[in-house]
C-alpha cells in the first residue's frame, strides 16, 4: 500500500497533525497533554490489528467513528479506554453517574476535535483539498476491541493503524486512532506524499 519512505513521511505528517489535536485538547481541558511517539502500521486485516494492537485491545474500550470525504477519503476510529474516558469526564466536571449522555457527548466532541485536527492537518501538509466530515458516532462500547474486530472489520478496505497516545499527566486517560483510507484515495495520498518527499 505504502513504501517504507512514504510510511515514515506519513508518520511525521500525522505527528504534526496530532500535535495540533493535542493543543486543542489541552485548551479544552486546561491540562497539559502528553503525546507519544506515533507508530504507523499498514493493515489489511483484523489479524494485523490484533498483532499491532494487543495492549490497548486487552482492556475494555469505547470506540467512536467519523468519516471524511474529499480527495482524502475514509473513516477514523478513535479508541478510548473506558476507565480513562470516565476519568476525563470527571476531570471536566461530569461526576454524576446519571450523566451518561453527557459523557457520550464529551467522547463524541473529543472524536470530532481529534479527527478534525488529524485529517485537516494531513490535507494541509499534503496540499490536498480539505475533507468534509460526517457527525461522529458511537461505534462500540464495552468489551475488548480485539473481540469486536474479529471477522468484522477491514474485509474490503485498507487502513493505517496509528498508535498515538494522548495521555494526561497523573490520569489514566489515553486514546488511539485507527485511520481507514478508502482504496480510491490511496493513490492521491501516495502521490502527495511523494511530492512532499521530492520537495525537500
Amino acid at each position: 500500500m505504502f513504501t517504507r519512505d512514504q510510511l515514515n513521511a506519513l508518520q511525521e505528517i500525522i505527528n504534526i497533525a496530532m500535535g495540533q489535536g493535542a493543543d486543542r485538547l489541552a485548551r479544552l481541558i486546561e491540562t497539559f497533554v502528553v503525546l507519544s511517539v506515533p507508530k504507523l502500521y499498514a493493515v489489511k486485516s483484523s489479524e494485523d490489528i490484533h498483532q499491532a494492537h494487543q495492549k490497548m485491545s486487552e482492556q475494555p474500550v469505547i470506540t467512536t467513528r467519523q468519516s471524511f470525504i474529499g480527495p482524502f477519503r475514509g473513516e477514523v476510529l478513535v479508541i478510548f479506554g473506558v476507565n480513562g474516558a470516565n476519568e476525563l469526564a470527571e476531570l471536566m466536571g461530569y461526576v454524576d453517574k446519571g450523566e451518561e449522555q453527557i459523557k457520550e457527548e464529551l467522547i463524541l466532541d473529543l472524536t470530532n476535535l481529534l479527527v478534525g485536527a488529524c485529517v485537516s492537518g494531513i490535507c494541509e501538509q499534503l496540499k490536498l483539498e480539505s475533507s468534509t466530515f460526517s457527525s461522529p458516532g458511537l461505534f462500540f462500547e464495552g468489551g475488548s476491541l480485539d473481540a469486536f474486530m474479529q471477522g468484522k472489520a477491514l474485509k474490503d478496505s485498507k487502513a493505517l493503524l496509528v498508535e498515538i497516545q494522548f495521555r494526561i499527566e497523573s490520569h489514566a486517560f489515553a486514546c488511539e486512532l485507527l485511520i481507514c483510507i478508502s482504496d480510491a484515495s490511496i493513490k492521491a495520498v501516495s502521490d502527495a506524499v511523494d511530492r512532499l518527499i521530492d520537495s525537500v
Partner: protein, 122 residues
C-alpha cells in the same frame, strides 16, 4: 570558524525540512543529524554542537531530557526546539529549561530565519 549544527529529530523528513529551511546566509557550517536524543547528546560530546535544533518527541531519550542535560553541562549551547507539540505549556517548559527559541512544526524558511535572526545567529 566553523559552526557545528546538530539537527535532532527521529523523522528523516523533518531533518531534511530543517536543513532545507536553514538560510543560505549561514556560512561555514557543519551539519550533523541525530535520530534520537541519545545521538543528539553524543553529537554534543563529540564537539559538534554549537547550535542544536531539537525535536521533543523522540525515542530513546526525549527532547526535554536532552535539553536539560545539555544546559547542565554547558549553558552556552544554543538550543532551538522544533516540535509538533505546540501546546503553550510545552513552549513554557522548554523556555524554562533554557531553550533559545521554540518553533512549531512544520518548519518553514521564513520562521526559521526569523528565529535565527532573533537569537543573533545571523
Amino acid at each position: 570558524m566553523t559552526m557545528h549544527i546538530v539537527i535532532a529529530d527521529d523523522s528523516s523528513l523533518s531533518r531534511k525540512m530543517v536543513m532545507k529551511a536553514l538560510p543560505s546566509t549561514l556560512k561555514d557550517v557543519e551539519i550533523t543529524f541525530a535520530r534520537n536524543g541519545k545521538e543528539a547528546l553524543d553529537a554534543y560530546y563529540s564537539g559538534k554542537a554549537d547550535v542544536m535544533f531539537l525535536d521533543l518527541t523522540m525515542p530513546e531519550m526525549d527532547g526535554y531530557t536532552v535539553l536539560k542535560s545539555l544546559k547542565e553541562i554547558d549553558a552556552n549551547t544554543i538550543v532551538i526546539v522544533i516540535s509538533a507539540d505546540i501546546q503553550p505549556e510545552a513552549q513554557q517548559r522548554v523556555k524554562a529549561l533554557g531553550a533559545a527559541s521554540f518553533i512549531g512544526k512544520p518548519v518553514t524558511t521564513d520562521i526559521l530565519r526569523k528565529r535565527i535572526h532573533e537569537i543573533g545567529l545571523l
